[in-house]
């Protein structure tokens, strides 16, 4: 057994970069996927709406833990080798796509119908209408819940530990396996997550309140 010394603490803290990087990659992947899902969900084509809805239900209706597990092992069945890092990035991106897609659909639908009709009567086609009229209004509404979901995503990266990706939580487990100081170690990890997530939560809350005041 090893002592819980500065080296061990440093190892845990250094793993924060993997938590942050994984969150960032999953957020970018999820944003791209989520954009497609949101557009498909608000599309005029019924089959596209149904398809996007099925995707959302599938990912919102199964545990993230299972999604990560399957993201890790399913590619292997087809002979594609993915390491835990790739699997976690793919799994979390797919997961985030569903949630961000649903959040952004909500934001798009909040834009009053009259805006769509006005844009159409100005002769704008789908893409210019989306980009110039709808999106700028939807983005403002979407920011608070998007940041809120980012907090969920950062916390969700802790489950990547279960498929063996060494991020913050897994680093803590590895050190705990060698030192057996669970209370100290997990409290430390909780504090680190808190320091990362709290400012984001606070920002999201403040933005939301601002929007509410503006809407009154």
């Amino acid at each position: 057994m090893r002592e819980l010394g500065p080296n061990e603490i440093l190892f845990i803290l250094a793993a924060v970069r993997w938590t942050l990087l994984l969150s960032l990659v999953a957020f970018i992947g999820g944003a791209l996927g989520g954009l497609l899902i949101a557009l498909a969900r608000t599309s005029e084509l019924k089959w596209l709406r149904l398809l996007a809805n099925g995707y959302i239900k599938l990912f919102q209706g199964t545990p993230l833990l299972m999604q990560l597990f399957l993201a890790f092992f399913v590619p292997g069945l087809f002979g594609w080798s993915v390491d835990p890092w790739m699997a976690a990035a793919i799994g979390l991106s797919l997961h985030a796509s569903a949630f961000l897609g649903e959040i952004w659909r909500g934001a798009i639908e909040v834009v009053p119908r009259g805006q769509w009709e006005a844009a159409t009567s100005l002769g704008l086609r789908y893409w210019p209408k989306m980009a110039l009229v709808i999106a700028p209004q939807a983005v403002r509404i979407a920011i608070p819940p998007t940041i809120g979901f980012l907090v969920q995503l950062i916390k969700g990266t802790s489950l990547a530990s279960i498929i063996g990706f060494v991020e913050l939580t897994r680093a803590a487990q590895v050190i705990n396996n060698a030192t057996f100081r669970p209370f100290t170690i997990f409290a430390l990890v909780a504090v680190v997550y808190y320091i990362i997530c709290r400012p984001l939560s606070a920002y999201s809350k403040r933005m939301e309140q601002k929007l509410q005041v503006a809407a009154r």
């Binding site: 190892f11 292997g76 002979g79 057996f180």
Partner: protein, 272 residues
């Protein structure tokens, strides 16, 4: 009523979807032969990192231990680099079967059930597994396990062995790995633990106040390297390799390094 119908209809839809998805899976994967490994230049080995001294980590958090040393020695004999991939008890077979690793050198006990899934080499290490409990708890026969709470690592040989002998009423708590199962024992969440002599040594060194002792000897476990069923050439290579390092004393040196004693004779290959 309509609520119930609606639930049934939707659930049926999910089942049909699941069936379709299951049917669409299934695809070829690749084998590993000694030649392919030499051409590739590296041997990918799955090993435990939560099971010192067989599979632990060093100060740089790299895999280190008896298994890691055997893995490096085998890579050296193939003339390639060893890539060490940490696996856990529950996920080691999936790692092997989905071609994430070429071989498991992961303190993997040779059992009849496992032989249905993987191809074992001859034994290269051995350990004894017990039910460990405090001195003041009376456990003399498996019957005494009744109403005792015991932690084990899920999917480990001690899990199987205790499940087989424990009477009704035994509270068997399965955790993801040995470290968590040990944690449950130390924090007092369970009274006993199914574990090996290595865990016992660790407990007596660091937690002498718990007064742990072996109560029931579950089995002498012979550990083998594990390969995919089709990789017979690689398994044959491993058998030659194990015989060679046992004979030339290199395996005994590894045992000396991690356990402080030279290696006894390796057990014979179990027959089922």
């Amino acid at each position: 009523m309509s609520l119930f119908k609606s639930i049934c209809r939707r659930s049926l839809g999910a089942l049909v979807f699941a069936g379709l998805a299951a049917a669409s899976l299934g695809a070829p994967a690749n084998a590993a032969t000694p030649e392919e490994i030499k051409a590739r230049g590296k041997l990918i080995v799955g090993l435990l990192t939560d099971y010192p001294p067989f599979g632990g980590t060093d100060a740089q958090q790299q895999p280190a231990g008896y298994d890691a040393d055997v893995a490096k020695l085998m890579a050296k004999s193939l003339g390639v680099q060893a890539e060490l991939v940490p696996v856990t008890g529950p996920n080691r077979i999936p790692y092997l079967l989905t071609n994430k690793v070429d071989v498991l050198i992961a303190t993997f006990g040779i059992t009849a059930e496992r032989s249905k899934q993987v191809l074992f080499s001859n034994p290269y290490s051995t350990l004894t597994i017990y039910v460990l409990a405090p001195k003041n708890l009376t456990i003399k026969t498996p019957e005494d396990l009744k109403s005792v709470s015991i932690s084990v690592a899920r999917a480990s040989t001690q899990d199987t062995a205790i499940s087989a002998i424990a009477p009704q009423g035994t509270q068997l708590k399965r955790f993801d790995d040995d470290a968590t199962a040990l944690q449950a024992l130390i924090s007092g969440q369970v009274q006993a633990m199914g574990a090996s002599n290595t865990i016992l040594a660790q407990l007596n060194k660091d937690y002498a106040q718990l007064n742990m002792e072996p109560k029931l000897t579950l089995r002498e476990q012979a550990n083998g390297m594990a390969f995919r069923k089709s990789d017979t050439a690689l398994a044959a290579y491993a058998n030659n390799f194990i015989a060679e390092i046992e004979k030339n004393g290199e395996l005994s040196a590894i045992n000396q390094r991690w356990f402080g004693i030279p290696l006894n004779k390796l057990p014979p290959m179990p027959t089922f």
